[in-house]
Symmetry: C2
């Protein structure tokens, strides 16, 4: 495949790691990045090291300076991407990237999706501008998939291949569930259980933590969105830094159903997030239980080593699914595709 | 996707199970099957139950009659497919299917490949006849992949999408290894370890057992091919029914390398075959060890439940990969594709 030129919308934890990860993957050239107030575009390829250094704060929670603990300045000091020598300050970052998009093969949408339709509305803007290419997101929530599916005809007419839910879960683990299901003709249950240790990565992933809190008893997306940083800290304190989630609304369910693997209601997602340790509080495991064509019942499992970080498990798959999306796009396959649909159509 | 009409060459264990499995998968219609002396073609769809019943012997090794233990008659009594009311006796079964292939989307090549180039030469015959469609095999040996790759231009010119190594291993487990590798930027080792309990399935899978014996110390493909049934029984006796294999020549290695996952030499395949028990002698496990982009070393694992049979793990994936191949073929993608290459191009 020819080299892929891609853009990243958002330079929070996922956006930054996507840029970093691309420097160690073959065939991927990041050519654009933006946050709310700045945009950097270089069709020859961004200098990722400079961009990451310029957008990183050297200030940690306790005021000390460490190399391993970085946070994104745009949410703190209003500089962000604009602090890079490759960037310009702008009030219209996404429009700026859309204006350059005829030379961009794929766009990773790594913005928080606290409003359900935020990512779908970004897609609308790319479609309105006639963008032909790939859009990738790492969204989590089931109901957004339907909003994207409603836009299928628009994507097809425009020439957009939208790859949704392409992170760890949904994403890597959805794909693993789809593969594990191949021993069976009838699937009884898909159980996805994740562990994340997010001490040093906490600052970079505040948006993700906020989204997760919406899944706790007593919270929803609206209340989580309105929490102040202090209130979030209090929620975390109340749980001794360890948040356990059950029956999360995670898009693995609808994505597996759409791929013909099982019914959405047979999929359960839960896990434990520990923001005070980098050790995982539990081992990330996908269990698929079903019946074989010869009538045996069994459970296949897929486990991630506790040493693999959330960032490693989100960004590797995201870029892999991006490449799969570009392949589809270049073959004229447009519409909405989930991670399991990009596997062989079992 | 439109309904897929497919043919099966060979009605040994894998061919028979492919036909049976297709009756419980959506969108697949078996329209042709053959063995050495017979061919059945019905473009409206074969009656699989009749065909399987007609080709199954009711005689087991001890002469008793049981429903669960069937063997293929063609190797015993010379009737085989020709015993079916849907079939005709023929001396040119493959040519007969080639002659009807303009209405066949995909062909599963489920013949023993004791001569390295047997399957490649079958592909030559389909290409020579101008077949446009999908060929699928479940071959195991690494060196055959190169022979197929040598024919790539021929496949492309003809319009053939050749899906190779699409069973359990290579196949399902190759795909699992490719997914498990996504946490890492550098892969150190892929270890595939399988367990097969083949007591009641032994008669149906003599060809597979013979191929496996070629991997034992002191044997190679040539000597294994020349063993009489009695000599094979003696080899099995000498090992108390339990054959353990290490460092097998299994195509997972070259298929993972071709998909860009790791070097072929980093892949090891081994396992235990127990022909005197239906219980698996060891749990089938894929272990992928590597280093993440953030410098951590770990091992991700994929395990199949001991209750899932070899047949379930070969034939489900084979038909899934077949569907993926038809999708590619209809999109004009021709050439040679392994199971990991059909995953997102990580």
């Amino acid at each position: 495949m020819h080299d892929i030129r891609f853009a990243v919308l958002g330079t929070g934890g996922i956006g930054r790691r996507t840029l970093e990860y691309a420097t160690v993957k073959d065939g991927l050239t990041p050519v654009a990045a933006c946050d709310r107030h700045g945009v950097a575009i270089d069709h020859e390829g961004l200098d990722v090291s400079e961009l990451l250094a310029a957008t990183a704060s050297q200030t940690t929670d306790d005021g000390s300076s460490t190399a391993g603990t970085t946070s994104v300045t745009h949410s703190r000091e209003g500089s962000g991407v604009a602090a890079s020598s490759q960037a310009e300050r702008t009030e219209t970052p996404i429009d700026d990237i859309i204006a350059a998009a005829d030379r961009i093969d794929a766009v990773v949408i790594a913005v928080p999706n606290l409003e359900h339709d935020f990512i779908p509305r970004i897609a609308d803007r790319f479609a309105a501008a006639g963008y032909k290419g790939v859009l990738v997101d790492v969204l989590k929530r089931s109901r957004v998939i339907g909003m994207l599916e409603d836009r299928r005809d628009m994507f097809v007419d425009t020439g957009i291949t939208f790859i949704c839910g392409a992170g760890a879960t949904p994403g890597l683990l959805t794909g693993a569930a789809a593969l594990a299901a191949q021993s069976f003709v009838d699937i009884e249950a898909v159980d996805i259980w994740w562990g994340v240790g997010l001490k040093s990565g906490y600052e970079d992933n505040r948006g993700t933590v906020r989204e997760d809190i919406a899944h706790l008893d007593g919270y929803d997306l609206e209340t989580a969105r309105q929490l102040s940083d202090e209130e979030i800290a209090r929620v975390i304190d109340d749980h001794d830094g360890r948040l356990e989630f059950t029956d999360m609304e995670h898009a693995d369910d609808v994505l597996l159903e759409r791929a013909g693997i099982c019914d959405a209601e047979d999929v359960t997602v839960g896990g434990i997030l520990d923001v005070r340790s980098d050790e995982k509080p539990t081992t990330t495991t996908v269990s698929v239980t079903g019946t074989t064509f010869d009538g045996e019942r069994g459970t296949n499992t897929f486990q991630l080593d506790d040493a693999t970080s959330m960032e490693a498990n989100v960004n590797g798959p995201a870029l892999g699914y991006l490449k799969a999306g570009v392949r589809r796009n270049r073959n004229g396959e447009y519409g909405v595709f989930g991670p399991a649909a990009l596997l062989p159509e079992f």
